[in-house]
């Protein structure tokens, strides 16, 4: 098992949160975070920020009238 240090973890944070690191890497990072409060604090902040951005940018459903108009094109 290769060890991973703080610097490496912090470099991979966004890829880690994006689910874009390999399985082995992913577990190494998780193991590091379980033991390192400094990295864990940063990662959990980034994770919450990401959720906040996603939530605050959600829009309501497509207007019924627009949807009706679109599907009407298919009848032509």
């Amino acid at each position: 098992m290769s060890e991973i240090d703080c610097e490496q973890v912090l470099q991979l944070v966004w890829q880690f949160l994006d689910g874009e690191v390999e399985e082995v890497r992913y577990r190494e990072i998780e193991a590091h975070l379980a033991e390192c409060a400094n990295c864990e604090g940063r990662v959990s902040f980034e994770r919450r920020l990401r959720t906040l951005i996603e939530t605050k940018c959600q829009e309501g459903p497509v207007p019924v009238e627009l949807k009706r108009r679109l599907f009407k094109f298919l009848e032509g």
Binding site: L10, V13, W14, D18, G19, E20, G41, R42, F45, E46, R48, L49, R50, L52, I53, E54, K56, C57, Q58, E59, P61, V62, P63, L66, K67, R69, L70, F71, F73, L74
Partner: protein
């Protein structure tokens, strides 16, 4: 409908298309709103996307990624439309801004530290309009990848396919886009903090 047992009838096509699009229509409309920042233009974009998708529906391979196929059409229609009306603002990269810009700023800030739990404080202070405003302030090419990743949840590879750019470009735009986004969020958070904290300097008039 005289032809006996055709592989697909126009009616079948319509129904399959309708079912496929219906599943993604709310998501596409939300993305159209974020991209255009304008309800009328978002409706036009959604309509253009819908019509293009319908025209090329026969080239869509059942079983492949329908959502990514639809978003690719949406992005192409969007890029075609904004190229006509707008110019890409100059890309200014804030190299001094790191991945943890917001976190670092909050930790360093006396004002936020006084609040007890600075991380909690900054996240609570950010309003819908701040986040949308920060996102809207990004250069176009960064904004597109941030929307596709952080709001629409596409993978790097899917975004590369949707925008027809290399995956390395996706990663670097996403990286730079997120850094700028954090810089902007910090501006908004600071301002909101001053507005709400009685013992702090009064709010300066901001960019919005």
């Amino acid at each position: 409908m005289a032809a006996p047992q055709p592989r697909t009838t126009p009616q079948d096509d319509r129904e399959r298309f309708q079912a496929l699009v219906e599943e993604h229509l709310n998501g596409l409309f939300g993305a159209a709103l974020r991209l255009t920042r304008n309800r009328t233009r978002a409706e036009d974009l959604l309509q253009e996307t819908f019509l293009r998708a319908w025209r090329s529906f026969r080239t869509f391979q059942p079983g492949t990624n329908a959502r990514a196929w639809l978003y690719k059409i949406l992005m192409n229609a969007y890029i075609d439309s904004y190229r006509k009306t707008a110019r890409e603002p100059e890309v200014v990269d804030h190299d001094d801004v790191d991945e943890f810009y917001l976190y670092t700023k909050v930790q360093e800030s006396e004002d936020f530290r006084r609040a007890g739990n600075p991380e909690e404080e900054v996240l609570a202070r950010l309003m819908d309009a701040d986040v949308k405003g920060a996102l809207d302030s990004l250069p176009e090419s960064f904004r597109q990848v941030v929307i596709l990743s952080d709001i629409e949840g596409f993978s790097y590879q899917e975004i590369a396919d949707i925008l027809s750019i290399p995956i390395g470009t996706v990663m670097s735009r996403l990286h730079r886009g997120r850094r700028q986004l954090q810089g902007k969020l910090w501006e908004y958070a600071k301002r909101a903090h001053y507005v709400n904290a009685a013992d702090s300097p009064p709010a300066r008039s901001g960019p919005r």
